[in-house]
């Protein structure tokens, strides 16, 4: 039993790595994608829009398989499994995050940009210190939902053979003819998401000092 728990703990570290690496890259990338989506340049905005539609319109599991196997067929070589997982998750989640950012940015009154412009702020100061903090506050609830989904989506990484938590749990269950490992994995995910929820609640409260 101890050995099983240790094994699963180790596997959950793989899941956590997927989780954090995806956030690390997808959160800023999403911002970039959102900017592209809102670009005045029609070509840029439609290309980005097509990308977002594909990412949101096809299953993540399919994208995962595509990212892992396509380079193999095209170049005759493939990136590592773990790298493929991170790439697939990042480009998928960046699309979802981008749409959330976009909604948030568009909900800020144009008067905020105009006031900043008249006061002489640079575009980047306006964006990072005046607009973005207000956007973040507004999108925290939607982001929370998305991040909780990400925790659960890490289980899909096993599709291309990454030994994350759920894969290890299934293997152990098959080996020991017991559903116990699956149950333990469920507890792991539940605890991870409880932490995520709590974190978002705290952030939401922290930012709740104005209306």
């Amino acid at each position: 039993m101890v050995k099983l728990l240790l094994l699963m703990l180790e596997a959950s570290l793989v899941s956590l790595r997927i989780f954090f690496l995806t956030l690390l890259f997808a959160l800023p990338l999403g911002l970039l994608v959102a900017r592209g989506r809102m670009s005045a340049n029609k070509v840029v905005s439609s290309v980005v829009n097509i990308y977002i539609m594909i990412m949101r319109g096809t299953p993540l599991i399919l994208q995962l398989i595509f990212v892992y196997f396509a380079p193999y067929y095209i170049f005759g070589a493939s990136s590592g499994r773990f790298t493929a997982v991170i790439i697939a998750y990042v480009i998928n989640y960046a699309a979802y995050f981008a749409e959330i950012y976009r909604g948030g940015i568009q909900s800020i009154s144009p008067g905020q940009w105009e006031a900043a412009h008249v006061l002489g702020f640079s575009r980047s100061h306006t964006y990072f210190f005046i607009i973005l903090p207000q956007v973040i506050r507004r999108i925290i609830p939607a982001m929370g939902n998305e991040v909780i989904t990400l925790v659960k989506d890490t289980a899909l990484a096993q599709t291309i053979g990454v030994a994350e938590l759920f894969r290890v749990a299934q293997n152990a269950a098959a080996r020991e003819f017991s559903t116990m490992p699956i149950f333990i994995a469920g507890v792991f995910y539940f605890v991870m998401n409880a932490v995520v929820s709590r974190t978002f609640d705290v952030i939401e409260k922290r930012l709740d000092y104005y209306s």
Binding site: Q112, E114, A115, H117, V118, G120, R137, Y210, S211
Partner: protein
Amino acid sequence: MEVLRIEQVRKSFGELEVLKGISVSQNSGEVLSVIGPSGSGKSTLLRCITNLEKIDSGLIQIAGRTLAEGNPATYAPAATLQEIRLSIGLVFQNFNLFPHFSVLRNITEAQVHVLKRSKEEARERSYALLKKMGLEEKAKSYPCQLSGGQQQRVSIARSLALSPALLCFDEPTSALDPELTGDILSVIKELAQEHMTMLVVTHEMSFARDISDRVIFMDEGKVIEQGTPEELFSATREQRTRQFLQRFNA
């Protein structure tokens, strides 16, 4: 000294021509009011002066620098645009304070990050302005905790902090409850007595009459008539101005 010079400014939104050859000039220390019916292009004129909208043709000069000139209008290079931006302030109808900044930071932010003043200097100046606005004790509050009148006073302080050569107001009292408008009007009046150069778009006729050195009446994208308050309100020359003013006297 001439602070503002506008010649033959034209501006269309698509098919709709909103400014049809506007010419106005304003000297340092002068208080100008712009009155006119809704849709006559008053806000658009202010937005063109503050470079929130681009003109199609004509000339705009602010504090001796040319913002835009020609037909079609060409705009000054970015460095000049920035200098011009700093010499002009705009107070919005709905304040547009930054809600996530305290009152104090709303006023210091541009001093520190645009004018590169030291934090201490910016705070000192902000407190002096807040005191002037009667809001010293609100420095640590957030805009949402203030009344509309207080918010508008903060936004005036925010503009004044940058010592603009020209301060524009777009209906500064229109979003306020009637009992709060007096507050703002007396602040502007006080600034007028200090010879702050101001361009005020307003629907408050008695106020315009009271504080202005010159009043401009606009209708359908044109300056119909301008003159001292005496001339415009008591010795009105144009029929259209008279019709407009009658609605306020009724």
